[in-house]
Amino acid sequence: MGVVVKKVELSWLDRTYVWPVMKGMGITFRHFIKQLFTPTSKRYTIQYPDMKKQMPAGYRGLHELKRFEDGAIKCVACFMCAEACPARCISIEAEEFSNLNFTQGFEEKRPQVFKIDMLRCIYCGMCEEACPKDAIWLRNDYEVAAYDRLSMQFGKWDLMNTYAEADGKERISEDPIPSVPRRAIAM
């Protein structure tokens, strides 16, 4: 069964072309004036290097390795994120650390090397989902770029400091000397 196409009947005013054209010009002129008198900050366009978009809360941008209050890394090197990663961009080497004093002796695990290849990462957030310790977060920075491939290999300290400036924390570059067992600290 064929579809019957209804022909639009134009009124004589529309068939003159002149009046519809003037109506259309009115619309475009309204847009022109509106845009002309809108201040730059309120226009739809975000002029990128000068203005930046505020990313929504759930945005998956550059990773951060979270740390405790004393600066120790939350990651326990369980390799869950590396397993979950579909792009296979996380590589971890674990190490043990201990403080075997006589009252609160403990022996724990942390990553010695935690590397994310940002060129391979697809920002899917699977590592964040998989992490049992909430140690890796994907946050709102989307400006991940560099001049060479090597600088896109983010190491443990790069990842722990990615949001240090934005959060007003100080940059750290070595593990603090452990005093209490990590499991004793409330998550």
Partner: protein, 353 residues
């Protein structure tokens, strides 16, 4: 002017002619290149965008992105000058000039200000003085030449899309020119002369005596035909970029393309000057019977730039017609309308009104 003439060992008339040519053509060139920027910014504003605003002089002075003109010019100058292997080389080089020269030449007849007397000489503010015997026939004839630029560019570049654009452009020219000429002929009739200065003088300084009021039909026809003549958007069949790549200038690059683009804008300036002269009293200032020279030039510029803006405005309002639709419009609507206009005014004149 006399001192300039004596310095150059010429007569004041020749020196004045030289000065006029320099002023008029540099002004049209400048306006045409500025209008590329106006077009892009205007289009952006109409579409709720921002447009080119980042090009800056020395990386600092932004002036609304006006430096984009310089940037574009420099870019076009330094691009590689390619031409297709099978192109007709001579015509391929000639075509941009064929497009550009008529676009500029049309402006020569238009009086852009009141004539003034100084030191016993009468100075006319138009490159061709009034009483040269060509009058308004000259820009119409030159406008007819403009299609050769498009057609030669299309034909010489040995490209299917180009030649389609060229054929479409020449086919449209046949259909709009008669209606346009008849609209102008009825102006000649009511004015009693075809010199632009006579037409301007006949219109007077009162806006309701300007030709647009008694000949509104003629104005609509003429203005619509101007879109077809300048190859501007509702009728830009020569370069339907959604249908035939870029039409007649598909194979053009670097400065040759720049010249073709500039020719379009120069043509736009000439066309809007023609509309202002024929239907909106040229340099006449509303309600001022004897304006000063500066005021008359300013009035003319405002009218001309307004119509140039209307060209841009319409371009970003209307979609492109199919070209059989323009044929339809040209032969079945514009021609009868301008005929009607002619007959009505002839009848009115024969009854002494």
């Amino acid at each position: 002017m006399d001192t300039l003439a004596s310095l150059l060992h010429t007569s004041p008339a020749i020196a004045w002619m030289g000065v006029k040519i320099v002023i008029v053509f540099s002004a049209v060139m400048l306006l045409a290149s500025v209008w590329t920027w106006v077009e892009r910014r205007g289009a952006a504003m109409i579409q709720d965008r921002i447009g080119p605003n980042r090009a800056a002089l020395f990386g600092k002075i932004r002036i609304l992105g006006l430096a984009q003109l310089l940037a574009d010019g420099i870019k076009f100058f330094f691009k590689e000058d390619l031409e297709p292997t099978d192109a007709n080389k001579g015509l391929f080089w000639l075509a941009p000039f064929l497009a550009f020269v008529p676009a500029m030449m049309g402006f020569a007849i238009i009086p852009f200000g009141r004539d003034f007397t100084s030191g016993g000489h009468v100075y006319h503010l138009s490159v061709l003085d009034p009483g040269n015997g060509m009058g308004m026939l000259y820009p119409l004839a030159i406008g007819g030449l403009a299609v050769y630029g498009v057609l030669v560019a299309a034909w010489s570049s040995n490209n299917k899309w180009s030649i389609l654009g060229g054929m479409r452009s020449s086919a449209t020219m046949v259909s709009y020119e008669i209606g346009m000429s008849l609209a102008v002929v009825s102006l000649f009739m009511t004015t009693g002369g075809y010199d632009p200065s006579e037409i301007i003088a006949a219109q007077g300084h009162l806006p309701w005596h300007w030709n647009v009021v008694p000949q509104f039909l003629g104005f609509i026809v003429f203005f619509t035909c101007m879109f077809a003549e300048t190859n501007r958007l509702p009728f830009d069949f020569a370069e339907g970029e959604s249908e035939i790549v870029a039409g007649f200038n598909t194979e053009y690059g670097s400065m040759k393309f720049s010249l073709l683009a500039l020719a379009e804008y120069a043509h736009l300036m000439t066309a809007s000057a023609l509309v202002a002269t024929l239907y909106f009293g040229g340099w006449q200032v509303p309600f001022v019977a004897h304006p000063s020279v500066g005021l008359s030039i300013l009035s003319f510029l405002i009218k001309m730039l307004f119509f140039a803006w209307v060209f841009v405005w319409i371009r970003w309002t209307l979609p492109r017609f199919r070209y059989d639709q323009l044929m339809h419009l040209g032969w079945k609507a514009m021609l009868p309308l301008s005929m009607l206009n002619l007959i009505v005014h002839a009848w009115l004149m024969s009854h002494g009104r």
